[in-house]
Symmetry: C2
Subunit: 444 residues, 2 copies
């Protein structure tokens, strides 16, 4: 436990320095331990487990484009993202880990206590046992404050979910090497540092309000300053309407010869170079379960933006939530930030063809954002996938009338849906996790 965050930073720099990591690019068709399926060109692990990169054909009436093809990660198994917590001096402390992931900016970031694929904890790739895993598998001793299957990035994963867990332990495990205890207020501070707290930690941390108020969803109308614009029932009706209204059809197609994508320079990239590529990396590490390995990764062409427009409505701060459909969304739509895109993908296009509300977000952020920080996406699958996370107040003159797939709700209402799974997408959860880092939002 660090009384001062300066001590944390010293410790963290030491952990970074204590281990040697090297990540180098390899061509997608020459990744050790991976093979290209002869019939499809899909990239699969030699065991047939772990994950695969396949081709996907998508048809939907809920995107600008009605149909497209893209590579997608296929990993039909549920991993565990778990944080061990304890209460000390009246505050909640989390056991986090300094963990290397090959796709991370800075390589080492703060991750949950346990971040394990099913392959990990069933030892498919023969690594060491996962530390602290015993707190997240039956029989457990701790009190479970959060336990929900949450979706991962729908643009890059097909229906992938992880089990997000927060478990309060009765005893105080001494931190192993690479682990440390941080208070929630310290974590809030660290969430303002770019590329430090990883995505897996952020998605779990978005559920921390349930630790403090287990019946959070049941507290309405208990907003501090007034009533939300819509009741929970109205929000659910909006969400149900979106799920019933839109279509999303997918089928696997061969990765080889995928229309609109080509192999160039050892990568598979979309012809316009507007979205992302599939690349390969070789990793040498001294501190991971396995000393070295190679794997495919997805690499976005540019930094993205993930942002909520927000405003006060009758004295209560609301954010504008989008019912968003992505290629891999399990059930048509999930609640997403107002804006999710790579702005560079739309460079040179007329304003009407840029993503809705992007300009509003950029303009409001330029006047001063409540949250404005760059974080990385999951460094185990995505290479240098950065997003600018923004919450910007657009002010009281911003119209309340929105298209039918958008809806105003309070951060508390949105958090309430988070524990039912497949309601709040990973971008929205990660953005919610940053709210405590914003003084103007933390008290709401």
């Amino acid at each position: 436990m660090f009384d001062d965050l300066a001590d944390f930073h010293t410790w963290f720099a030491e952990r970074r320095a204590a281990n040697h990591y090297e990540v180098s690019a390899v061509p997608v068709d020459r990744i050790e331990g991976w093979r290209t399926e002869p019939e499809t060109g899909d990239l699969v692990h030699h065991t047939g487990k772990f994950f695969a990169v396949r081709g996907l054909e998508v048809g939907t009436d809920h995107r600008e484009t009605a149909a497209w093809t893209q590579p997608i990660i296929h990993q039909p198994e549920i991993g565990i993202l778990g944080i061990v917590v304890k209460v000390v001096r009246g505050e909640v402390w989390c056991l986090l880990q300094a963990k290397m992931e090959p796709g991370n900016i800075n390589l080492v970031q703060l991750s949950p206590t346990v971040q394990a694929t099913r392959s990990n904890y069933t030892r498919v790739h023969r690594g060491n046992a996962v530390p602290y895993l015993e707190h997240f598998v039956a029989p457990r001793e701790g009190r479970v404050a959060l336990d929900v299957l949450q979706s991962e990035q729908g643009s890059w994963f097909l229906s992938k979910r992880n089990r997000n867990m927060i478990v309060e332990v009765p005893e105080d495990p001494a931190p192993r090497e690479d682990f440390c205890w941080l208070s929630t207020s310290q974590i809030a501070e660290l969430l303002r540092v770019p590329n430090l707290v990883n995505m897996d930690a952020r998605t779990v941390l978005s559920g921390l309000p349930f630790f403090h108020a287990p019946e959070l969803t049941e507290g309405l109308p208990a907003e501090q300053d007034g009533r939300p614009l819509h009741t929970t029932g109205q929000l659910l009706s909006w969400f149900t309407g979106c799920r019933a209204r839109y279509q999303l059809n997918r089928r696997f197609v061969p990765l080889a010869g995928l229309p609109g994508w080509r192999r160039i320079g050892g990568e598979i990239i979309d012809e316009g170079k507007r979205f992302f590529s599939v690349t390969g990396v070789r990793v040498e590490a001294s501190s991971r379960e396995v000393g070295s390995w190679s794997q495919p990764m997805l690499r976005p062409v540019e930094r993205g933006v993930i942002g909520f427009l927000g405003r006060h409505i009758d004295g209560v701060f609301h954010v504008l939530v989008h019912a968003r459909t992505e290629a891999g969304t399990q059930d048509v739509v999930e609640m997403a930030p107002t804006v999710t895109c790579i702005p560079a993908s739309y460079a040179g296009l007329p304003a009407a063809r840029r993503p809705r509300y992007l300009r509003d977000l950029e303009e409001a952020a330029a006047r001063g954002a409540l949250v404005d920080v760059v974080h990385s996406e999951e460094g185990g699958r995505f290479y240098h996938a950065e997003n600018r996370y923004v919450v910007a107040d657009v002010g009281p003159d911003f119209g309340l009338d929105v298209p039918e797939d958008y809806c105003w709700m309070t951060p508390r209402q949105l958090t309430g849906f988070l524990r039912y799974g497949n309601h709040v997408n990973v971008a929205a959860r990660c953005l919610l996790s940053c709210f405590p880092s914003a003084p103007a939002l933390a008290t709401r």
Copy 2:
């Protein structure tokens, strides 16, 4: 509005008598308007829409049998089951319909205000417009008290969902022919009559508590007499654990030559005649959107049992909920009654091979059940599919330790999960709808 239920029964008998219906059996391969796909033997509507009967291969680690094949209804579209309600003299009144369905016992049963497949309301089979549909599609005027995508019978439907809605209307629509207003206390009384209130009405009615207390889930711990055994968070953790633990894999296989099933007497039936058959019917009706039609139906071999074991725990009545996997369950498990089976399917088997808790339920019901009534399943797809709906108090000596896929919860907690969709299965919802009909349960 009937001041006396005797008047309702008179009206209902008149509605039954006013129309002429005739349902006759036809062989599955000679259903007018339907064809057998040459490659697969699947039964499909000539338009390619409506629904199909296909073969399904199921593999799971969460049933007595690890793998099996069966016919299943494939209808990948979301229908609407909607009830219009109004408040009069301080009580909620529902607009229900006397509706014929070919599979119904007694043919005519009470159904929701609107019971429409997407084919219905997009006019695929060219019927008349659906009365009162305007209250359930945008733009609507009424207050939405419930709006959730709910699963249908997982044993017979693949991932089928309907949109369950309750809408309070500002004006009082005069009931059309075949429609009537009934108060919730009158409906509670009618739920004690066998085969009168149809499944579609029952599933929607299970959400009526949200009309009275919109934030129902948010009232905990507000049980009248004490605290539930588990918190909402613990129940969700149990449910998440079941979804993460078990596997359910399905793929379509040809209906022709489906292993374990054979065509005999114009039906497709399992070789042991223990489960159900696929049959055909021809319907002549004077009061439906279409005057006559033919269709396939699923016909169970015997009456089933759907039952909750219940007991008081620290003064609070709890039911024993099963996390159940069925062939068509969309997401591995849903919360189900303690017992769901056709007892005759297990006749002659040793006790150890009969469904868990069936004997406890039968014995407790023999001593006096809280709910004990026979209702029909959806008469539009299932022919004479009756279930005995039972809630039986097993008494305070019944052990609280249960297998890991069972969990005690209060009816209020179970109802709370109902509005998030894909949590509470149709059997459990239908059983919950009967709780107000039981004096001992109605006040809880």
